[in-house]
Symmetry: C2
DNA sequence: TGTACATCAGTGAACGCGCGTTCACTGATGTAC
DNA sequence: TGTACATCAGTGAACGCGCGTTCACTGATGTAC
């Protein structure tokens, strides 16, 4: 084990899997998805370039694990917000959506960069489903009947998801300036125009 | 010149600049942005790997030109739609937004992948501004006073831009299935819920 | 409690890859006189 | 109209790069008896 400060470097790392995920998150945040590299991640974790293969198979496997964790953190961030009524709750969770994206740019982008992930990873799928369900219940209520993907009943969920998603991405592109907090203020102006119409 | 069918290969291409842009668009559409390569583009255009440098400087320069053209085509696609009244017009242009994204996936993504483009290219900036202005006038009316980026008066424009943008990206991610037309049907269900509230 | 041994989790050198860009060059074009 | 020459638009070979992955290996761990 490597969990005390006096630990010396041992041949076996002890907790390399989470350490690699953490290193990958740093590399992503610093270099962006396009600049990501498995070798650099291994370097950060203080390990040889071949080591990650033992835990993740290949680069895609590692990125998939990072994305799954990102979806979990994202779901937690939504769930952590609440409000006095349905509209207030949706508004604060909408803001949480935008804030998460801006505070975790590369990870957030990775969550949607399907081409780079293992599409059939069950962990990833489950984490994504959970995040959507949290949002869907926020819009349609905790007791709304489950709905198939194209059910018209989902329209309000899709609409509100679209708006926060689109806004977050535009904000990340700097459409609202690079000034700290400007995007958040723009979101506060804009979300109330729309979200209230989506709660039934 | 190389513009008739019997033309033989000449040392000078004659219209290499547009030919390279067209080749780049094909490479992007086939391989995605991450798979884009300057060499492959040159290969498609039937030209040596060093040739593009004469017209675009480097790979970033070529991609920037492709993105600027994409913004122009995108603006044209919005402008081509109309409606009997402001709400109908906004709705049909919203659908045009979604359709353009789905029909020009890689190009649409490129338009927003700032990290890969020359941020200070005047052509690109101008084409982007024009597209936003077309949208803004659709929402706030042709005679609305111009507004600074963070002016609250822009909120309805930003809201509607966000929703079509977010929806388009989710659709591209396959959230509404890969079934041809499914995304368009979902958009038709959802857009009316929101857009009508944004016209003043 | 001790020992043999299988398994696990790493090493580090080497591979081949396609890439973007540079370079000295050359063929074609256009222009000045 | 002809000619000299500058400029433009290409060539193609070569460069160095960092990458992901493979490979034979070895050190450490855990387990059966």
């Amino acid at each position: 084990m490597n969990d005390d400060l006096n630990s010396v470097k041992t041949y076996h790392h002890g907790a390399l899997k989470p350490a690699l995920i953490a290193a990958a998150e740093k590399v992503l945040e610093e270099r962006g998805i396009d600049g990501f590299s498995l070798r650099e991640t291994a370097r950060r974790a203080g390990v040889s370039p071949a080591a990650p293969a033992h835990h993740f198979g290949d680069a895609r496997g590692l990125l998939t694990a990072v994305a799954a964790k990102a979806y979990r953190d994202f779901g937690d961030a939504l769930e952590a917000e609440d409000g006095d009524n349905a509209i207030a709750r949706l508004r604060s969770r909408g803001m949480a959506y935008v804030r998460f994206a801006l505070a975790n740019r590369a990870r957030f982008q990775l969550m949607w960069r399907k081409a780079v992930l293992n599409a059939d990873d069950p962990d990833l799928a489950e984490a994504g489903r959970r995040a959507f369900n949290i949002h869907d219940k926020t819009v349609r209520g905790a007791n709304a009947p489950p709905a198939a993907p194209l059910d018209p009943a989902l329209a309000p969920s899709i609409a509100s998801w679209s708006i926060v998603h689109g806004f977050a991405l535009l904000a990340m592109d700097g459409v609202f300036g690079t000034d700290e907090g400007a995007a958040e203020r723009a979101a506060e102006q804009m979300l109330p125009l729309v979200l209230q119409h989506l709660i039934v």
